[in-house]
């Protein structure tokens, strides 16, 4: 049935093409392979294993080229599993004994997975799932990849998609991704953005709507999905694409010039990074520094906390990439919430987002934060820069004092060791918890800056778990309740004369960026891929226009109205 349905934008771009339904299959649903001889079985098993490894390796290489080293590593490990001799040789042995090749591969992989699964270490045990995934991939190739791939270039439609499936599509065959489930922050959405494939997610009516359709169109910037678009709708999409193309080229031309409003109010644009490997991409996008260096990657997927020297080396790489003129704001590890770490040995909490998260770990795991702070002091000393640090999840003045106390203690220890150590650390707190926003005037006197994390602030202001898909309607940071909270934070910061940055997703959304700057926010930090668009947007409006927009937004009572106000303004430059 023709019509439009709404999803959430996940990767920019417009795609038009036939919908191709991806159906996950259990291992049992894979067709048997007819073989003429046991020798042929061996050849085909080894061939399928090698082909799987090549596919995974090729996608990993593409991600590395895009500066996504962290994502690439997962796929590289899976590539090694595909050609693991313990699995492949065992599968061949079973096939020689008369077992059909598909069963032989699954059986052999299962023995290895089972051994990993019984290891006491939770992280290693989790790799058992990776082994099983890889085995299913090998058997798919073994039984003929064409059963899993569309015959013509298509938009893949599914409930959800395993991220590594994107690896199986030869370039050109995958026009876009539309998912009934998922979220814009899911791994598959991140991968689609990295690869430049348009994607729309969280469109609950999708599967019903595309049934029997000839063609669908998706707009990864607005989140719209059009089923069997009429000729005039296709024309409109083509126009939209052309306008965006010239907008993107104009935006890229602004790179290198500092971001500012039309009348010259400077708004530094910084990048959010997840590892030093992202630095190159951020610099290329014209980032004026790093507003959020997420350090969790150093602590996850391992058996023990990273050592001080390992952390120092990583922080130093990022600091050296940006040099003394461009700040790199390191966020102390945001552990807890949805990111738990087995080696801390913390009891499971019924409500982890309201539990011992981030700075709250300082009571029981004090050494963890002290080690990180010492590593930051040392890295800055070695790199010859002034370190910038912020703590997540600060709720009270005591939390902020705890942070500055740990900072000073870490410095004394580094100085005592004789290492080079800077005189000061620019120290900030993240504003994510409503109590911190309410206490902003007093908190502002204890620290050097605020950085607002809009994702968590929204979750806590509206009391809606951001991981719960049935509460997705509460996750719009443009909600006036959130904006009024931000306005109060800005007022509190102004009273003490400290700057306010925003490093949540709202900063990377053009509508959000305009409203935030209108509210008096001083700096924005977003994914490197968003910076061009934000820079171009800001250059299109004067400070007074944005202040007027913010005033209207503050008077509104729902997020939709605020978005409509912002889009009205944006349509002038689009």
């Amino acid at each position: 049935m023709p019509g439009r349905i709404a999803g959430l934008p996940a990767a920019p771009g417009i795609a038009v093409g036939p919908a191709w339904r991806y159906r996950p299959r259990g291992a049992g649903a894979i067709p048997a392979v007819a073989i003429a001889s046991r020798g042929e079985a061996e050849l085909r098993i080894r061939g399928a294993a090698a082909a799987s490894a090549t596919q995974l390796q090729a996608l990993a290489a593409r991600l590395r080229d895009l500066g996504r080293g962290g994502d690439a590593e997962i796929l590289e490990a899976q590539a090694l599993m595909a050609i693991d001799p313990a699995i492949v040789d065992e599968a061949v042995r079973l096939a020689h004994g008369g077992m059909p090749p598909v069963e032989a591969v699954l059986e052999a992989a299962e023995s290895s997975a089972r051994i990993l699964g019984t290891l006491p270490d939770a992280l290693l045990a989790a790799r058992a799932g990776d082994v099983r995934d890889v085995a299913v991939r090998v058997t798919r190739i073994l039984s003929g990849a064409q059963v899993e791939l569309p015959a013509a270039p298509s938009i893949v439609v599914a409930d959800d998609l395993p991220p590594s499936l994107l690896a199986e599509f030869p370039p050109g065959l995958l026009l876009g991704v539309a998912l009934a489930g998922g979220s814009p922050t899911a791994h598959v959405a991140i991968l689609a953005r990295s690869l430049g494939i348009p994607a729309v997610v969280a469109a609950p009516d999708l599967l019903e709507a595309v049934r029997g359709s000839r063609k669908i169109a998706i707009d990864g910037e607005s989140g719209e999905i059009t089923v069997d678009p009429a000729p005039e709708e296709l024309q409109e999409l083509a126009d939209r694409q052309a306008v965006r193309g010239s907008r993107d080229r104009a935006a890229a031309a602004l790179r290198g010039s500092p971001a500012a409003t039309a009348d010259g109010r400077r708004i530094p644009l910084l990048a959010n990074i997840r590892s030093p490997e992202d630095a190159a991409r951020a610099l290329e996008a014209g980032a004026e520094g790093v507003g959020l260096f997420r350090t969790e990657y150093l602590f996850l997927r391992r058996q023990a906390a990273p050592s001080e020297s390992e952390q120092e080396a990583e922080y130093r790489r990022a600091m050296e990439a940006f040099g003394p003129e461009r700040p790199v704001v390191i966020r102390l590890a945001d552990i807890g919430g949805d990111k738990s770490i087995p080696y801390l040995g913390r009891p499971e909490e019924p409500n982890p987002f309201l539990g011992v998260r981030a700075i709250r770990l300082a009571h029981d795991s004090r050494e963890l934060l002290l080690t990180q702070l010492r590593a930051i002091w040392r890295a800055a000393g070695a790199a010859g820069v002034t370190p910038h640090v912020m703590a997540p999840m600060v709720a009270t003045l005591a939390d902020a004092r705890l942070l500055t106390g740990l900072r000073d203690e870490a410095r004394r220890e580094v100085v005592a060791s004789g290492a080079d150590c800077p005189d000061r650390m620019v120290t900030g707190v993240m504003i994510e918890v409503p109590s911190a926003a309410i206490l902003a005037p007093e908190l502002a006197r204890l620290v050097d800056f605020f950085s607002i994390g809009t994702n968590d602030l929204t979750q806590y202001v509206l009391a809606a778990d951001r991981g719960n898909p049935s509460l997705a309607r509460f996750q719009d940071a443009l909600h006036p309740a959130v904006l009024r909270t931000i306005a109060a934070v800005v007022a509190g910061a102004d009273g003490a004369g400290i700057p306010v940055a925003v490093c949540g997703e709202l900063a990377g959304d053009p509508a959000g960026a305009l409203v935030l700057v209108g509210l008096g926010v001083d700096e924005l930090s977003a994914d490197a891929g968003s910076l061009d668009a934000i820079r171009a947007c800001l250059a299109g409006f004067g400070d007074a226009e944005l202040r007027a927009l913010a005033a209207r937004a503050l008077a509104a009572t729902d997020a939709e109205t605020v978005r409509a106000y912002a889009n009205e303004l944006l349509s002038a430059v689009r």
């Binding site: 590289e76 693991d84 313990a86």
Partner: protein, 93 residues
């Protein structure tokens, strides 16, 4: 046949990234190579198998025995010994 015993000094032992680096290096030699975790007293595994090396559960401070047999066994032992020593050094120093 050549063999050597080495203490693993990398922070995360032979898990995750170091395991992949080690397996890729081992796979480059023609010889048959086995790895045995002496500290944990686990059975020897194929050093060219990522699942095998992970299952050996090698942590920082564990002593492993590497055994190579084949045309390039000397080079394999020396190469892997150096690799393990390098994994223990802090990155970037």
């Amino acid at each position: 046949m050549r063999s050597i015993e080495v203490e693993v000094r990398s922070e995360s032992g032979l898990h995750a990234r170091p395991a992949a680096v080690f397996v890729r290096a081992a796979a480059a030699y023609a010889s048959t190579i086995r790895l045995e975790n002496m500290t944990a007293a686990r059975p020897a595994v194929d050093a060219k198998s990522i699942t095998g090396v992970m299952a050996a559960g090698v942590e920082k401070g564990h002593v492993v025995r590497i055994e190579a047999e084949g045309p390039d066994e000397g080079m394999a032992i020396e190469g892997l010994r150096r690799l393990l020593a390098g994994l223990g050094e802090p990155v970037g120093h």
